[in-house]
Amino acid sequence: DYQQYKILILEQPFHSKFKQIEKKLHTHKISVRECTEFLQSFPEFKGSLENLDRNIEYFCSHYMVLADYLNDAVSRLRALSIDTLKDMQKKIKPPANNDLKLREVLAGTIESYVMNAVYRKVFVVIRQRFSKEDHLLLAKCHKLSQVRPEEIGVRKEFSCPLPTAVVELANLGSLTTPREKLTCLKWTVDNVTECIAASLQEKRQAQISLDGFLSDDFYEPCITTDDLIPILVTVIARAKCCHLHSDLFYIENFVWESTDRDRDDFGYCLVSFKAAAQYMMETDFSYLKESSLSTDREISIEELMAVTSIKDEVRSSPRLTTTSDAHTRLERQLSRISDILEQTSQEMGQQNGSRRQIQSIFPALQDDILDQQFGKQK
């Protein structure tokens, strides 16, 4: 039977109970600055934050983190975060107090706030525990950094310069929270796929311009896990992460406020890096000859370190403060360079002794990826 219905569409619910939560409250906060500002934006959290700061101070001054008992540190810090979350949730006004997404964002934000505050105390012990592995991996990085990707098992189609991925990963050591570090891994993989996509697009364009059309048998490969592992090996080798094992452990054990941790794309990226690192550790690369030295022009590691070492002093990462996902990685890198320049100018006024360090920045900037000949960034 045919029946008529009238549908009334409203711009917003009549009852305030159903009023939508602001979108920014549902956006995950990544950088330390974002997390701090987010928590401070709720006046009702003032008491909870002060209490949290006291507890963090107590942890830092009274608790001894031991390399063999890191799980105890995990449970203490987690308990601290959970208690704070419960306390803050009681103070949120309706209807936000029952919003599950806001709860998830808030939990992640508190976790990052706590982990940033205890980073130096905890991470130094993690580094101690994994010093042997980190040292061995770094030695492998030195060995592989100049090897052609094909020699490590990268398919020829995917063998192209990956400067943005290397820069992104080289920044890992300067980040303090496990969530920031995890995001860094994700962005590194994103950069890899973007660079390769651009390279494949160039090849496609080259064939079209050569033949005037794209032939039916033009083969367009997809990146699979078999491809990604050796690609990540090359990126790790060139980024020369000093404490990758420690960082991976830190991410795996100190991100607890995520229901999707072992399942989503971030989890996949983390596992891929773990797999690449383990593959590097287990594999004997002594068969690689000196003749396989790469001639690809990449940013030198000294230049990379000159850029990233300054960021060690910066507690928050301006790169990560750009909340909009619409920002491209190119824009983030521009933002990073601007930040370095700003930081540099401040240091120039304060420290005469840092002259040499500052001078080392300029070659890095001169050779930064924006002026690289690759020209494959979107």
């Binding site: 599950l100 996509a197 896990t225 383990q278 594999t283």
Partner: protein, 211 residues
């Protein structure tokens, strides 16, 4: 300190409904078509002339099963022998595993059997495991693994069995739908409880389960 929890969960959906989530891993030799199967299921296409060229290693697809939304997080795994020791990192906590072999290559079937045995030992007993014989479109000329052999092995080990083709789309969606039914705890139609019906090609397989 490692986390050994299962990777299933529910989370609030956009409209306030609950979405169940499941991690699904693809295992099998290199070249058997693991990522092609995933791409066929997720994008409804074979990657030969794909617009999006990269990113077959991790895919997601949300489907509607018996009125409930289920989001698959599909993890590709490395098939090369040299990466074999890394596989447990990938399949840890998976709710479902699709072990793929090429029905035109007997060696890949033998490797699939090893993968199934490993999964049985290393994963939870309620992990849904599918034995998928891919490249059925080439079977008329090149078949090397008899359907009956694979079916018998699947029945003996309690697997879902399917012969499919990522290229033509044959039985691909049906296979994933069956996994979804198993995961949400409801059975598919009675006549497809332990195998995928090989009906139709492109049209049959591309209908019904996309959301």
């Amino acid at each position: 300190m490692s986390n050994s929890r299962r990777n299933s969960g529910t989370r609030p959906g956009a409209a306030g409904g609950r979405i169940q989530q499941a991690k699904l891993v693809l295992l099998g030799d290199q070249g058997v078509g693991k990522s092609s199967l995933a791409l066929r299921f997720v994008r409804g296409q074979f990657p030969e002339h794909s617009e999006a060229t990269v990113g077959a290693a991790f895919l997601t697809q949300t489907i509607l099963v018996q009125g409930q939304s289920l989001k698959f997080d599909i993890w590709d795994t490395a098939g090369q022998e040299r990466y074999h020791s890394l596989a447990p990192m990938y399949y840890r906590g998976a709710q479902a595993a699709v072990v793929v072999y090429d029905i035109n290559n007997a060696n890949t079937f033998n490797r699939a059997i090893s993968w199934v045995r490993e999964l049985r030992q290393q994963t939870a007993v309620n992990t849904v495991i599918v034995l998928a014989g891919n490249k059925a479109d080439l079977a008329s000329e090149h078949r090397a693994v008899p359907t009956e052999d694979a079916r018998v092995f699947a029945e003996e080990t309690g697997l879902i069995f399917a012969e499919c083709s990522a290229k033509s789309g044959l039985a691909v969606n049906e296979m994933f739908m069956m996994i979804a039914h198993k995961i949400v705890g409801k059975h598919a139609s009675p006549n497809s409880s332990q195998g995928v019906q090989l009906t139709g090609g492109e049209e049959a397989s591309s209908s019904g389960c996309k959301c």
